[in-house]
Structures are given as C-alpha cells and as structure tokens.
Symmetry: C2
Subunit: 199 residues, 2 copies
C-alpha cells in the first residue's frame, strides 16, 4: 500500500492525496510535523534529501516531488490521466512547469506570505505574478474545459490546489469566472476530497 508523507496545510501534499483518492487507491497517510522540524530529521531526509513534503512511497519506490508523484500514479495505475502522444505529453509538462514556476511564485508564495507569515517574500511581486497567471488561466479556460484536451489530466490536479487556495494569499478569484468554473469541475470529479480552504 502506498504511503504519503505530508502536511495537512500543504497544497503540494494535498494534490497527491487528491490524485490517490480520484484513482481509488488505498494508502497510508503520515503527517510530517513541519513546526517540530520533522522534515529536517535524518529519517525524513533519508526519504527526501531536500527536506520537503510530500514524499510518496510505493513498495521500494520513493518519489520526492508532488508533480513526479502524480505522473507516477497516473502511469502506474490509470494512464488516462497522462497522455503518451508527444504533443499532449509536452502540453502536460508545460502546465507542470507553470505550476512549479508561475503558480509557485504567484499564488503559492502569496499564501506563504499572508497565511504563514513568510515575510521575506516580496509580496508585491508574488501578487503581480498571481494576477498574471490567473489572467492567463482565465483566457485559456474560456475556451477549454480542462488544461489539456477534453478530459482532466495530472496537469489539472497539479495546478488546482494553489489556484483554489489563492484567497489564502488575499487574492480574490471573483474576477475569474472561468477559473471558478474549472475549480467546480474538479470538485465534481468522482472521488474528490478537499482540504482546509478547499471544500
């Protein structure tokens, strides 16, 4: 049975939990207490030298990255979530890059600043980045139901948490009706689970 090491407030942990739930896979959840510094203890660093949650293990397999874990789960358990054709696969990778680039530097960073008090972040820059990526997403989703093609992929699951959690970073989603509709479509997927801030 897979084991997911994560934190209940981490959107990156949540996206792997969501994927496991959408795929109907039983798994064990282990909370890594970040406030107590458990992510910097030798046991955890042996799983992920970066000292970051989440980590997904499955038998001997150890995956120390949320996006990597989503791709693994799709390829291993239900390929319909990850296209193999070259252009569609490249589009998935593009949206994973946007997730770890623009979304991380935008709404994810704004949430770290406002909700967790990481005041060394440049909040003006994070808010500007968040506005940029939300405008891009709004434009894209105005003519596409999902990020790629006619069905959800791992790209939607990767991008979803920190977009849906944008209000935690004091970013109002009401100017983005197509983004809000996409959030609702994700929530309607069979097996959907939420987290604090996404219900």
């Amino acid at each position: 049975m897979p084991t997911l090491y994560g934190h209940p407030m981490s959107g990156n942990s949540y996206k792997v939990k969501l994927m496991l739930s959408l795929l109907g896979i039983d798994y064990e959840w282990v909370t890594v207490d970040l406030l107590k510094g458990e992510h910097r203890q030798p046991d955890f660093l042996a799983l992920n030298p970066f000292g970051q949650v989440p980590v997904l293990t499955d038998g001997d397999v150890v995956l120390a990255d949320a996006q990597g874990a989503l791709v693994y789960l799709a390829r291993q358990y239900d390929g319909s979530w990850l296209p193999t054709e070259s252009v569609a696969l490249a589009d998935v990778v593009r949206w994973l890059s946007i997730t770890t680039g623009e979304i991380r530097q935008g709404p994810e960073s704004a949430r770290l600043y406002h909700l967790f008090g990481l005041k060394t972040l440049n909040i003006d820059r994070a808010t500007e980045r968040a506005t940029f990526i939300l405008n891009q997403l709004e434009q894209h989703l105005s003519s596409h139901p999902w990020l790629i093609g006619d069905a959800p992929t791992v790209a939607d699951i990767a991008a979803f948490p920190y977009i849906a959690l944008a209000p935690d970073g004091q970013i109002d989603l009401s100017p983005y009706p197509h983004v809000l509709s996409w959030i609702e479509r994700v929530k309607q997927l069979p097996g959907f689970v939420g987290m604090r801030g996404i219900v």
Copy 2:
C-alpha cells in the same frame, strides 16, 4: 523544419537549441528581440500568450515552454532521451520541477539580478536557493553520472544551462567538483553546442 523562437542570452532558449543539436535536427532560429519588446507584439503573443521565449514550432505544433519542448522533441524524434517506465518518468518530472522551481528561484534569478539588473529580485534569497540546489546536485552527482540512470535524459538538458551559467549570477562553482564534472560530461556529448558563458 522546426522553428525555434528565442534569444541568444536566454538559457531556456539555449536548452531547446542544445536538444535540437544533440538530436541532429535541422531547424530555423528566429531571434525575438526582447529589448525592443518583440515578445509583447501581437504576432508573438499569438504563438505564446505568456510572452516568453522560447517557442518551438514544428508543422502545426506550437510549444510555448522549454521543458515541454524538450519532452516533445525526445518523444517525437529520439525516445532514448525520455524514459517511459513509470518510476524513471516520474524522476524526470521531478528534475523538471526542480529546474522550474529551485533552479529558477536560485541561480537563474541570481543571473537575472547580476547580469540583467533585475534589482527587484531578492538576491539574498536567490543566492541562498542557489547554494541549496548546488549542494543537493553535488550530493546526487557524487554517486550518479547523470540525473536519472546511466544515460543523459531531457532532465539533464533542462537543468544544465542555469547551473552552468551560475557564475553569471556571481555564484562560484568551484566548491562543487561533481557538478563541474557533470557539466563537462554534457559538453562532451556528440552534437553539443554552447552559448555565451558556456563554451
């Protein structure tokens, strides 16, 4: 014939150029003059609404992300650069996430600050991130010749430019001998081409 729209000082443009060269693919290069704002003109925004280089086109295919372009080229022209097995593919995606996350926020941002004068960046944070990822890379490469497995993959090509260009961000690579050896291994690949700062 593929067309690569890029800028000669852009490491993200360079990585796609490098991949095309390693694969022995003829292509057309189009310089997008960022100083003149050509990336914000309607013609270019029609290719990439994000207004970023590079963009790779191949027939009707348009790929507006360096990592996506690498994955497309590998899948389309030489699959040996992109594993299909679930764990190896997830590991590739992990290193692509690190490239667009830690490497972008670390050495790539330090280069933007020092070489291009983007002084709104928090240079202390960028330098700290650069040190973190270089230490992680050094540790990993001390027991692995390439980022994944025994042969180079798109992950190496994605990570390579902004690591090799770290000195542009006033980051000294001499404390990282295994990283320097890996840079040399990339440079020895048949078909290798350099750019300013990587020769």
